[in-house]
Each structure stands twice: as C-alpha cells, then as structure tokens.
C-alpha cells in the first residue's frame, strides 16, 4: 500500500468517526479503535498549564464500550443531535507503523426543539495504525478549546 492510499484511508477513518457519532451509531464508533486504545478529551486549559486531568478518558476499547453502555442504560443527558464539521486533515507521517494525524473540528449540538449551539471547537491529535489494511485509532486525543463545557459532556466529541 502506497502513502496515498494510506492517507486516503486515514481521512476516511476520521470521516467515519465524525459521522458515526453524529448518526448516534456509537456501538459502531467504538469499533474504529484498537483494543488497547487511549481516548482522552482534554481541556486546553489543563494542557497549557501542564495538568494531566481529562474531561473524559478511556484506556481501552472496553472502557469506551462502558461509556456507550452507560449513556444508553444509565445516564439521563440532554437530548440532542451532534454535527461535527471536520477541518483539513494533516497526516504528519508514520513512525514504525504508527501514523500521526491532526485535524481541527467544530461540534454543534441541536436541541429537540431545533435550536443549535456551537458546543466545542478543538483539535484531534491521533495515532492511527493499520490492522490487516484497516485503519484504527490507537490513540485519539481531543483538545477542547471550549473547556467551559456548556451544560454537560455526554456524547463523545
């Protein structure tokens, strides 16, 4: 597989990531990650001050699945529709089969009665690996510029 097709596959992975959240297909969204993945939503405030605290963190695919199960079964959150707008994807290159990828996003949330607010703006800093030709997130770090979270952070960013 040449660089071009890997680049295309990585861009497609990021597109799948955004659309699966937006279509509330979170069970399928989890399948975009490796078993021993890291998923973190960080507040830009903490990143800049050098603090490790996350807004959400999962250290395995199992924990991601737990989040989804909890959202489906236990949590009572603000009912809304997500829409991700993904910026241009920068693929920094591969190191020992691990691709470093970066992209900006904005995420709008719309309520049940049809009003929309900008919920978050930030940057994805991802590590992508290929498993039998299929790209997967080994690491997805979401750096959230909108760290004063409006109401609550329920569905993933």
């Amino acid at each position: 597989m040449g660089d071009r097709s890997e680049y295309d596959a990585i861009v497609a992975l990021l597109a799948d990531y955004a659309h699966l959240i937006d279509e509330d297909r979170l069970e399928e969204w989890v399948e975009l990650f490796c078993d021993d993945c890291t998923y973190k939503i960080l507040s830009r405030e903490n990143v800049e001050a050098g603090y490790p605290l996350e807004l959400m963190s999962c250290n395995s695919k199992g924990m991601l699945r737990d989040r989804v199960v909890s959202l489906r079964e236990a949590n009572l959150y603000n009912l809304h529709t997500d829409k991700h707008i993904l910026g241009a994807v920068r693929v920094h290159g591969a190191d020992d089969g691990v691709w470093s990828v970066q992209a900006n996003f904005s995420l709008y949330q719309s309520t049940l009665d049809g009003s929309t607010d900008l919920f978050a703006v930030g940057t994805y800093r991802d590590k992508v690996v290929f498993d039998n030709g299929r790209p997967l997130f080994a690491e997805k770090i979401v750096i959230n510029d909108t760290f004063a979270v409006a109401r609550m952070l329920s569905t993933p960013i």
Binding site: E45, N46, L53, R67, N78, A148, R151, M152, L153
Partner: protein
C-alpha cells in the same frame, strides 16, 4: 417597584416552601450580590497549593465580582477586586501565573502584590505639563481588598468587616471534614469548568439533596457507589447553612433498593457490570468507612470525596440565569504514580462529563426553564421531614436544602416573624 427577597411570599417558617421568584428575579440577584457575596460570609477563593510561590496569582469570581488572589513576598495571601482603581479596567486577564507587579494594560498603572499603587507613567506629565495634580497621593491608592483567611490550605475571602472569624463561620462539623480531606500537602491534577443555564441557588440545592443522588444519577445506583439504603446521613453547622452528606459503600440493601425503585421508570439492574470496573474501586484512604462525602459551604463551595476522586467545586454566578462551576481536582503530594492514575481514572465519574454527575447540569436547567411563569408558586421541600433543621443519619432527605434557605433568608434581611 423593585422586588426584594423580603417582598416574596415565604409560606413556611421551616422553609419547606421555596418561592420560585427567588431563582429568577433580576432585582433579587443584584440584592444577593450585595447582601451575600459582599456580605458577612466567607467565600471560597482557591487552594493555597495553587499559589505556592511569592508572586503566584489566580483570577476568580466571588459571585460575579472578578477577584485576583496572589501570594505576597512575605508569604501571606491577599485578594483584591480584579479592577484597576484608575478607570476600572480588569487588571489581570490570565487565569493564573506569576507576577512581581500587577500592571494595568490600559494606562500602565502598576500595583505591588499587597495591592498598593506603586507607579503611574508620566505622573509628572511631560515638560512640566500634564500628568497627575501635585496633590495626588499615589500611596493613598490601593486595590479594593478582601479579608483572606486560610483553613487547612483552603483560602476564603470576605468583603465585609463584620464577618465572624473563619473557624467560627465553618463550625466544628465542617472543620472536621476539612481536617479529614486536607490532611496533608496536595498534588493538583487540573481543572474542569461547566456552564449551566440556571440560578446559582439551584446548584446549592442540588448539592444539599442526598435524596436525588440515586434517583437522578442512575450510574451511581446501578453500580452501588451510592444508594439511598446505604449507611450515611447529613451533618449541618449550627446555622444550617453548610452541610456534609456522607455515605458508605457496600452497606446498601439490594432487595429494599429494588423494591423502592420498582415503581419508577428507571432501570435498576443488579446484574449490570462494567468491562473495566477499575474506576469503581475504592482504595480506602481515610480512617473511617465513608466512601462518599459532599461538603457544601455557604455560599459558593463544595468539597467532594467520591471514592478516591477529590476536588473542590466553586460556584460562580453569571446573572440570575447562569452559573459556572469551577472544579479543582487534587490528590496528595505523596501519591505514587499508580494512585495518581487511579484518581485520574475516577475523575471519569464526576465533572461535566462525569458518568455519575453529568445529569446535575441538566436538572438545574430543567427547573430554571420550567418555573419562569410560576414565580408566585413554590417548590416543595419535605423529604426527610418538616420542622427542625438538623443532623440525621439517613439519606432519603432534603433537609439541608431548608438549612440553606433558612440562612439565605436571614442574610437577605428578612425578619423571621414574617415567615409565619
């Protein structure tokens, strides 16, 4: 005509009825800023661990007043309204940092760490013309200061000369809880912020309401971290204004819980398990068996122990219809790497994205939206009993909410005989 807290109808002298207008009215909000946040209370400012070195500062809000907190060269902590005395510009815009002086960017008036004005550019003008008048005394200009006291490294400030000493304001129960949590040097882990479109007192109600814990937060109940049948209770100070809700994991009665939840629409599944249950594990670290405490200090502070997740929450007001919660997470300086990781993992339980606490933002907003046209009506606060406001050793209670409002009522200057 201006609405005041006094002009509202308070139909129950035990505060088992709360007038909805108190959450919504703009005039009352302004009155609260004066009588409460500028009044005889101690407001939570920050942790000393956030500003360990001389010159370290943070900016925060007391009510909606911007406040600058810094450590002076002599090690003392001082706090000021974050506003230049010249033309009123905000003095420090950064959330935190280190400074030897605070220089206003508008006209470069410079203050030292005690709040004393030290320098004004072109004070004598240019070529003998302009500048400050000869009788202007730079030494007479100081930033508007708060009185600051620290208890166990927790910094409180007051604008009022008459506020009782901090230790008395907190009372024995609250001091004991602060002694318990702030028992040794801290390791700061970071911050979270949550903006909620609701009144700041709705959040104070929320944290004084152990009854909602397992009803709104089903993650809690489902995994047994907190259930209403656990051993626990509430402890208040003498005035009822502060509260400690506490409970002990593993003491619940599954059958009684299942029966109690049977009439609700909620899932109560004893067989529900996480793939990675590590975040539910409590590494016992206090001498008692308490695994969950929510300490609420009037008017703007919460201290939380949810298993090994420790943090303070500061309530900042942004008008009658908006608040910001500012969460400061910490462990202890002697935590090893594994314990720090465990605390960070358990931070998943709380905060704006917390598996057990995310619902609070929604609950506050739902009330705020719904009572807009019902301002003459009242909320009911009778769970746990009516009448006397005091400590008790059960969790199906919202009595501490009545304690909050009883003190609120006193502060807002209302004669108690009007409450009959």
């Amino acid at each position: 005509m201006t609405t005041t807290a006094m002009s509202l109808e308070w139909p129950a002298e035990d505060f088992s009825r709360i007038p909805f207008a108190a959450y919504l009215d703009e005039d009352i909000y302004v009155e609260e800023q004066e009588r409460i946040f500028r009044g005889p209370v101690w407001s939570y400012l920050a942790l000393e661990a956030e500003i360990p070195e001389a010159g370290d500062f943070i900016t925060t809000y007391v009510g909606d007043t911007p406040v600058l907190v810094n450590r002076q060269r002599d090690g003392e902590v001082s706090a000021f309204v974050n506003r230049c005395m010249h033309r009123g510009s905000m003095l420090k815009r950064e959330c935190r940092g280190n400074a030897t002086m605070h220089t206003c960017l508008y006209h470069q008036w410079a203050y030292d760490l005690t709040g004393q004005l030290r320098a004004v550019p072109f004070a004598k003008g240019h070529m003998g013309r302009g500048g400050l008048p000869a009788d202007f005394d730079i030494k007479s200009v100081k930033l508007t200061a708060m009185r600051v006291e620290s208890y166990r490294g927790v910094l409180f400030g007051t604008f009022c000369d008459d506020t009782e000493p901090l230790a008395d304001y907190l009372g024995a129960n609250v001091r004991a809880e602060l002694d318990r949590v702030f028992n040794r040097p801290l390791n700061l882990l970071g911050y979270q912020r949550q903006r909620i479109l609701g009144n700041w007192k709705l959040y104070n109600d929320n944290v004084r309401d152990p009854n909602h814990g397992a009803l709104l937060h089903m993650f809690h109940a489902t995994f047994g971290l907190y259930r209403p049948t656990q051993r626990g209770g509430v402890k208040l100070d003498d005035r009822g204004r502060h509260n400690i809700s506490y409970s002990m994991m593993g003491t619940s009665d599954d059958d009684a819980d299942a029966e109690a939840f049977a009439g609700t629409q909620k899932v109560f599944d004893k067989g529900f398990r996480l793939e990675d249950p590590s975040m539910l594990q409590y590494d016992k670290e206090f001498p008692d068996d308490v695994s969950l405490t929510i300490l609420s200090i009037f008017p703007n502070m919460v201290v939380q122990q949810i298993t090994n997740s420790l943090c303070t929450r500061q309530i900042q007001t942004r008008g009658p219809g908006e608040l910001e919660l500012y969460w400061t997470y910490f462990g202890y300086a002697d935590d090893d790497e594994e314990m720090t990781r465990h605390r960070l993992n358990q931070a998943n339980l709380v905060g704006p994205g917390g598996l057990i606490s995310m619902e609070d933002g929604e609950a506050v907003e739902m009330v705020h939206r719904a009572v807009k046209r019902e301002q003459d009506d009242h909320g009911i606060v009778e769970i746990g009993g009516k009448g006397e406001i005091g400590d008790h050793d059960y969790l199906v209670t919202e009595i501490p909410i009545r304690g909050f409002w009883s003190y609120y009522y006193d502060l807002m200057g209302i004669e108690t005989e009007q409450a009959a």
